[in-house]
């Protein structure tokens, strides 16, 4: 469901007196609307009439802001007085892959300052791709006495000192979820900052960090937090230590192990297996860093109930995976490394009929002499065994049009199809043709498709297909593809529900950019880098569409007329004032 952006929702014309008198009293309306959780629903509700708009804004406790620059904290605070939970996303997604300059922005601090004034009772903050400093974390920790949940995903700018501040001051903390951030890991002492009286933690995820933590402190913490249901350890925690933790936390629903590879005696293995088997609620398992095949059997008792198994940090071979999966019949989500190869994926198809989501990550990006990893065969094998598959992220070294056609025939319900053929522009490896027909098959067959990432050698035909058939498409990622402006024009013209478009290294120029003129205000954002867009094209766009922010990031030494990286997004807050010098707002 689409999280609602803070659209410029105008008040509908007032209803006339008679209608208003017969409508619900405000309190009742608010009570009813407070049950609405979905942002899309809330957004729709707010557009009905002025009463409903007000009732909605007074009853809303969670706000989701998909682009932190689309709105200002003041505007948010003005509209929604009772927010207790905020989700904010900042940088464009390609910042995850180093395509966005370091100091681009998306700093949380200005938001925190406003929240401290307007939402002193704030409880939850979930950030994605924001810049957050230790000072901000400390400010957060001391400004909100009710603060409960902090989740940081793919953020940067902070260190473990900031975590220490959170642990020290947030007396009511229930969730500390630190995932895949650019964190400066200065050591594990932050964990010891939780006071001995502190017992409320339910979610603790520090898998992102590598330093050793004080295990005794952790053991005591886990022991006294009886409501803990999610615990994701970092690599420094050994198997033996894991066992000790599990003995005190059999209620865990999600476990991320630490390192899974040290030498264990037989007795220790038995103890570990026994501790795991006591975790009757466990449905999610991850971590398993450096997992050695010989210790995997300890997991078998847990596997029967598992619905999500994340092996993306465990370089398992195909036989090891096969043995493990034989015990995981209920699996719905599986993340693996391509070390399992096609054979491992065959085992997926054979053992996991309920599978809905599969992600295959590349293990060794640097070992180039030998082709390994997965091919089209593995994906096809999964599709035969897992008809419910609807989410796939697949990094492979080769693919064919025919294979993809078979896959979507077997699994027509794809909502998220992200295929990454790792050689940019690589054609069908059997026919040597472009991969146009593959993605054509995807969009024609998978009518529910919301998210698509394309790769391989693609001509404009792919985009014609997308524009013509992908009517529910919301997010599209394109790299090293297309032949001319026409490709992008097809997408802009055809995909009515498109919200996020990110393009890199494609031959799309100004005509393509400008073909979306009318569309961008209904989208969250557009990213185009290393395409053929010029500054003039961007200026024209900015001029024609004043409610869009058109930002250009220039590279050193590039041609003055080229717009190397373009980021366009709608905003009711106007152009931002915190852009670094390398980012030009037109």
């Amino acid at each position: 469901m689409e999280p609602s952006e803070l659209k410029r929702s105008k008040d509908s014309p007032n209803l006339d007196e008679s209608t208003r008198r017969s409508s619900f009293p405000d309190e009742v309306l608010e009570r009813v609307l407070s049950l609405l959780k979905s942002h899309r629903d809330r957004s729709s509700v707010s557009l009905v009439c002025k009463d409903w708009y007000n009732a909605e804004r007074w009853s809303r406790t969670h706000v989701f802001i998909g682009n932190c620059y689309s709105v200002s904290p003041e505007i948010v605070a003005r509209r929604f007085p009772k927010i207790r939970s905020v989700t904010l996303k900042g940088k464009p997604r390609f910042s995850d892959f180093n395509l966005v300059p370091e100091n681009w922005g998306a700093d949380i601090h200005a938001w925190l300052v406003v929240f401290a004034a307007k939402y002193p009772f704030l409880e939850e903050l979930r950030l994605k791709r924001m810049a957050i400093s230790d000072e901000s974390l400390e400010f957060l920790a001391v400004s909100f006495p009710n603060f409960k949940a902090l989740s940081l995903l793919s953020c940067d700018g902070f260190s473990t000192n900031g975590l220490a501040a959170i642990a020290t001051h947030c007396k009511n903390l229930t969730e500390l979820d630190i995932q895949e951030n650019g964190i400066d890991d200065k050591g594990g002492s932050w964990l010891s900052c939780f006071p001995e009286s502190f017992t409320s933690l339910e979610v603790l995820n520090f898998a992102n960090l590598s330093s050793d933590i004080n295990f005794d402190a952790l053991e005591r913490l886990v022991g006294r937090c009886k409501s803990m249901r999610v615990l994701k350890l970092n690599r420094s925690v050994s198997l033996e230590q894991l066992q000790r933790l599990l003995v005190n936390a059999p209620q865990l629903a999600e476990l991320g192990t630490g390192s899974f590879s040290e030498e264990l005696t037989f007795r220790q293995c038995v103890e570990l297996e026994s501790a795991l088997s006591n975790c009757k609620n466990m449905h999610t398992l991850s971590g398993l860093w450096d997992a050695k095949g010989i210790y995997l059997p300890a997991l078998y008792p847990v596997c029967t109930h598992l619905t999500f198994l994340n092996l993306s940090y465990a370089a398992l071979r195909s036989d090891e995976l096969a043995k493990l999966l034989a015990h995981c019949p209920r699996l719905k989500r599986l993340w693996v490394l391509d070390t399992v190869e096609d054979k491992g994926l065959e085992a997926v198809g054979m053992n996991c009929p309920l599978l809905e989501e599969l992600r295959v990550f590349p293990a060794d990006l640097f070992d180039e002499e030998i082709i390994h990893g997965v091919t089209e065969a593995g994906f096809v094998a999964v599709s035969f065994g897992c008809p419910r598959l609807h989410y796939v992220l697949y990094f492979c070294c080769q693919m064919t049009n025919a294979a993809v056609a078979t896959i979507v025939q077997n699994c027509p319900d794809f909502t998220h199809f992200r295929l990454c053929i790792m050689n940019p522009g690589q054609p069908d490896h059997i026919t040597n043709e472009p991969m146009d027909e593959a993605f054509g098959a995807v969009v024609k067959t998978c009518t529910k498709l919301q998210r698509l990432s394309v790769s391989g050698r693609l001509t404009d035909l792919t985009f014609e297909y997308i524009g013509r058939y992908a009517k529910n498409l919301e997010t599209l990622s394109v790299a090293f593809a297309g032949s001319s402006d026409w490709g992008m024009q097809c997408v802009m013209g055809g995909c009515s529900k498109l919200r996020k478009l990110e393009i890199r290294d494609c031959p799309f120029g100004n005509a393509a950019l400008l073909s979306g003129l009318e569309k961008y205000e209904s989208m969250r954002s557009l990213w185009m880098s290393a395409c053929n867009v010029t500054m003039n094209g961007c200026r024209l766009l900015a001029r024609e569409m004043p409610r869009l922010n058109v930002e250009v990031m220039k590279e050193d030494g590039s041609d003055d007329s080229q717009a190397d990286k373009v980021y366009v997004y709608r905003s009711i807050a106007g152009p931002r004032r915190d852009a670094p010098p390398s980012v030009l707002t037109l």
Binding site: L99, L365, N423, P424, A479, S483, P507, E555
Partner: protein, 332 residues
Amino acid sequence: MSTPLEHDYIGLAETSSMERSSEKISSSSSSSIPSNIEDKTTNNPSLNLKETELRLGLPGSQSPERKLSLFGKDLETNDKSNGFVGSPLKNLVSGAKRGFSDAIDGSNGKWVFAINGKSDVELGKGAVLASPRGGLDSKTNPQQVRTSVPVMKEVVGVPQSPKPVQDKKNLVPPVNEHTSAPAAKAQVVGWPPIRSFRKNSMASNLAKNSDEAAGCLYVKVSMDGAPYLRKVDLKTYNNYREFSSALEKMFSCFTIGQCGSNGDGLSESRLMDLLHGSEYVLTYEDKDGDWMLVGDVPWEMFTDSCRRLRIMKGSEAIGLAPRAMEKCKNQN
């Protein structure tokens, strides 16, 4: 051999802008380099940078302004059939700590320690590299390399790789300096699209791969051109000689065993033979992620630090950083 292409990594020739470079990826199967590039490279007036320009020459082509000394002799007189003339590529052996000319002083075979001890990752921080404009069909567009500061980093040499032009891989981001990528291909920023955290985790996973159960030390051995790798247990050998003969048996076309019968390990002269005459060079990746020439350190030290091995074609193993080249030129 392949690569009838001249690669201009810094692209000094094309424009006066020193920071543009054409990203050229060697390929035996396709030629995508505009021929105008070659002409310009020899005419570039900015001589200083010329010294550091990385190029692969066409067989038979010369780079008259450059004096190269590699393996103790001028490259110009090298056998052209290698397809390698002119400037050596920086760091063909991904992250090789020192070039051979640093290690070999002139003709007497004495080892000279390189100052350039650090891996190339340290030549500059910040992700760099190629982002070819307009997709891969741009045979007529000079491709620009977008570089952030500084330019030189990671414009890593692309040896003659039999892989197609489109083959590009990503780079270990500078967050973790110790895992320099064995970059046999040119790098594309941000591709494949994997988050830094995951890349770093996988890179340090590699570090652990060779530590198997105590008592044996299995490391992977890959050989250029071989369809599969082998694994050897380093603990079963006592010295370089045993090791190299075992490898020779494993990879029967491997010629390292041609070294003479000098006593312990690979002596200087043996390695000289290796570099000059034999077809293959044995290199290894050490704990820091740097690619080193086998034979420099005592055997025990080698087994302690070796993570994996690669048998490279000798012509590819011209791993010199440009500065090292400069230094060596000055020394000569």
